[in-house]
């Protein structure tokens, strides 16, 4: 299992489009993917779950990957966060 804390850096935060792309990325991998915010955990392969986080710029999230391809999944996902969802 891999755990990593990330920060949302793009201005608009986790709105519909990044949420949708995030789910697309997560769904490519077999590994389970959970996002934890303020102790609240959601399934990262569910767009509605991700939207429920309502994470704005500056929010700190814990990403949890668990499964055979967790390293690849974590690598791509963390890069997605670091790139500000491609909205910088």
């Amino acid at each position: 299992m891999i755990e990593k804390v990330v920060t949302i850096i793009n201005k608009a935060g986790m709105h519909t489009r990044p949420a949708s792309n995030l789910v697309k990325i997560a769904s490519k991998y077999k590994a389970d993917f959970f996002i934890i915010k303020n102790g609240y955990s959601i399934n990262g392969k569910s767009i509605i779950g991700v939207m429920t986080l309502a994470a704005e710029q500056g929010s700190k999230l814990t990403l949890k990957f668990d499964g055979a391809d967790e390293e690849l999944a974590a690598k791509e996902m963390i890069k997605f966060f670091e790139d500000g969802f491609g909205e910088l």
Binding site: A12, M51, A54
Partner: protein
């Protein structure tokens, strides 16, 4: 204690009087008044099944909009759309809901609403305004799923023989209702030519529109009289009122009976000039009535409802079956099929709605953009035409290019059928609707390419006078007796004569007793009227002399103001017809 009688006034949209219980329909409020049932009577299996179907239908709707509107949407809207679709494809969310339904024995719509509420609360609590605004996307999605979840339920709840009361009815609502036996329809909004009005007249049920807030003042426990002549709805009528209306209904039956005597008589003027009278038709359940009572041509068969009912453009086979059904039932008479005349407002998502749909992406414009949809429809019509009694009519034509492109596509469709070795009527007639002023001005040129004109007066009035016929603020300016409109019709007839082709009128104007006198005089060769007015118009035609009508028409096109026209026509009516045939 007796409930007090209350009278509500609106605009009379479809003739007739009915007495009965109301069914108050609140489609536009997402908080449907559906009873929350105790868990003991809930079938978990049915609820889950309903939920799956509603999601499936919502996905289908969104895909349809998506496939049609893709090129018309900007980047931002496209994403909102994709996001909505991905919400609907979120299996985790669906599983959570289905899991809760079975664990808590709750109805699907209750659980769905609760879960969406949780999502909305979370989003609203965000400090970021942009994220908070995303609630609107979710709201649109919620309403779509809820509507699909509750649609079947709502319609099955409509008691037969009730008077439907609603704020407004969308075309798809009215289509749902058309399959039930209704006594009448009254709505807060709408105008005399709105969809509700058109459908009520087609179904021969009384309707009153523009009643402002009747939907808030009637409950299902009331008792009503709807008067589609005077535009009234009477709530909890006194005994004397009921008695009065009882007599009125008797009287009307008598009038109907007398009119029926006209069924077998020819449609010709007193001086022997035959005027072709045909009918507009929209629903299959009108077919029998038309065949047995009138035995006439169908001058306008609208195909939009095929699209509305299916929630998608129907495929070639199902369209073929429908057109074949008409062709066979109406045979040996003919059916003029108008190709899809859908407004962009019916298929574009809310966020992409044009501010001016009547001047936007609609009718032939959509068909020429979406050639596959158009070709599919054309092939279906052509295949059904092998008996030789179908005609094709193109809506919303505004110039020569559209005519040429359409004709090319018709030829292409024919070619495709030849390749498949399928039969069709090689000489099928193709005509155009004349309803845009530019088409009137170019009618002489357009006439060289087509076999007939059909004047769509509703749109012609609206486009000539720049008046939205559904706007309650300006609908008084919507005036078919405007001299400009009459001159437009005159020009069209003359252009048709020069090209030696037929010209009919298929709009509401043909069904107006004053106007029909004029139209005959102007040289219109065919009137296609709603079935409700068919016999009355025939009666009128049989009362006039063609030579008189010609004189009237000749004078009328020279008049300059609406009032002059109206006064003159009323005078002539008195002079030549003498009695008002209401």
């Amino acid at each position: 204690m007796l409930k007090p009688e209350q009278i509500f006034k609106g605009i009379a949209a479809s003739k007739g009087i009915s007495v009965g219980k109301p069914f108050v329909y609140r489609a536009e409020v997402p908080s449907y008044k559906v009873d929350v049932l105790p868990s003991s009577v809930i079938s978990v299996e049915n609820e889950i099944n309903d939920y799956n179907l509603a999601v499936k239908q919502s996905i289908k709707e969104l895909n349809k909009i998506f496939s049609l509107a893709q090129e018309k949407l900007d980047e931002k809207n496209l994403q909102i759309f994709e996001a909505q679709l991905s919400f609907l494809n979120d299996e985790f969310f669906h599983n959570k809901i289905k899991d809760r339904i079975s664990r808590e024995s709750k109805q699907a719509f209750v659980v769905f609403k609760e879960e969406i509420q949780i999502l909305e609360n979370a989003i609203v609590s965000s400090a970021d305004e942009y994220i908070r605004e995303r609630v609107n996307d979710i709201e649109e999605l919620k309403n779509r799923v809820l509507r699909n979840l509750l649609k079947g339920r709502l319609v099955s709840k409509i008691t037969e023989n009730s008077i439907v009361i609603a704020k407004n009815l969308s075309p798809s609502d009215t289509i749902l209702f058309s399959s039930r036996n209704l006594l009448g329809i009254a709505t807060d909004l709408g105008g005399i030519n709105s969809h509700v009005a058109l459908i009520s007249r087609a179904l021969r049920i009384p309707a009153v529109v523009a009643m402002h807030d009747i939907s808030l003042n009637i409950t299902n426990d009331d008792f009503l009289i709807i008067d589609g002549y005077k535009g009234l709805v009477i709530k909890n009528p006194h005994e004397q009122t009921i008695e009065y209306y009882g007599k009125q209904i008797e009287k009307n039956r008598e009038i109907e009976r007398k009119l029926e005597e006209l069924e077998k008589l020819p449609s010709e003027t007193k001086d022997g000039k035959s005027v072709k009278l045909s009918t507009n038709l929209e629903f299959n359940n009108e077919v029998d009535y038309v065949v047995t009572h009138f035995g006439c041509d169908v001058g306008l068969y609208r195909t939009e409802h095929l699209f509305m009912e299916e929630g998608d453009f129907p495929d070639e086979e199902s369209q073929y079956i429908q057109y074949r059904f008409l062709a066979e039932h109406i045979y040996p008479k003919s059916v003029t099929i108008r190709t899809f005349d859908i407004g962009g407002d019916k298929i574009l998502p809310d966020s992409q709605k044009e501010s001016n749909p009547f001047l936007g992406w609609r009718g032939i414009r959509i068909c020429l953009d979406k050639k596959e949809i158009f070709l599919t429809q054309l092939r279906a019509i052509l295949r059904a035409s092998s008996g030789g009694n179908l005609k094709i009519m193109l809506p919303m034509i505004s110039g020569i290019e559209e005519v040429k492109k359409s004709l090319e596509l018709i030829e292409k469709a024919k070619g495709q059928l030849k390749e498949r070795n399928q039969k069709f009527d090689e000489k099928i007639e193709v005509g155009v609707m004349i309803e845009v002023p530019s088409a009137v001005l170019l009618a002489e040129e357009i006439g060289k390419f087509v076999d007939f004109f059909s004047i769509g007066t509703n749109d012609l009035v609206q486009y000539t006078l720049a008046v939205d016929r559904d706007s309650s603020l300006v609908h008084e300016l919507y005036e078919k007796f405007h001299p400009a409109v009459l001159r437009m019709i005159d020009m069209t007839v003359k252009a048709a004569k020069k090209n030696n082709i037929h010209v009919s009128v298929c709009g509401e104007m043909a069904s107006d007793q004053y106007a029909s006198l004029l139209l005959v005089g102007l040289g219109i060769t065919e009137l296609s009227v709603i079935s409700l007015s068919y016999l009355q118009i025939k009666k009128l035609i049989r009362l006039i002399n063609y030579s008189d009508a010609q004189k009237v028409a000749e004078k009328v096109v020279k008049l300059k103001s609406i009032n002059e026209v109206k006064e003159y026509i009323e005078d002539c009516f008195k002079k030549y017809i003498g009695e008002k045939i209401a």
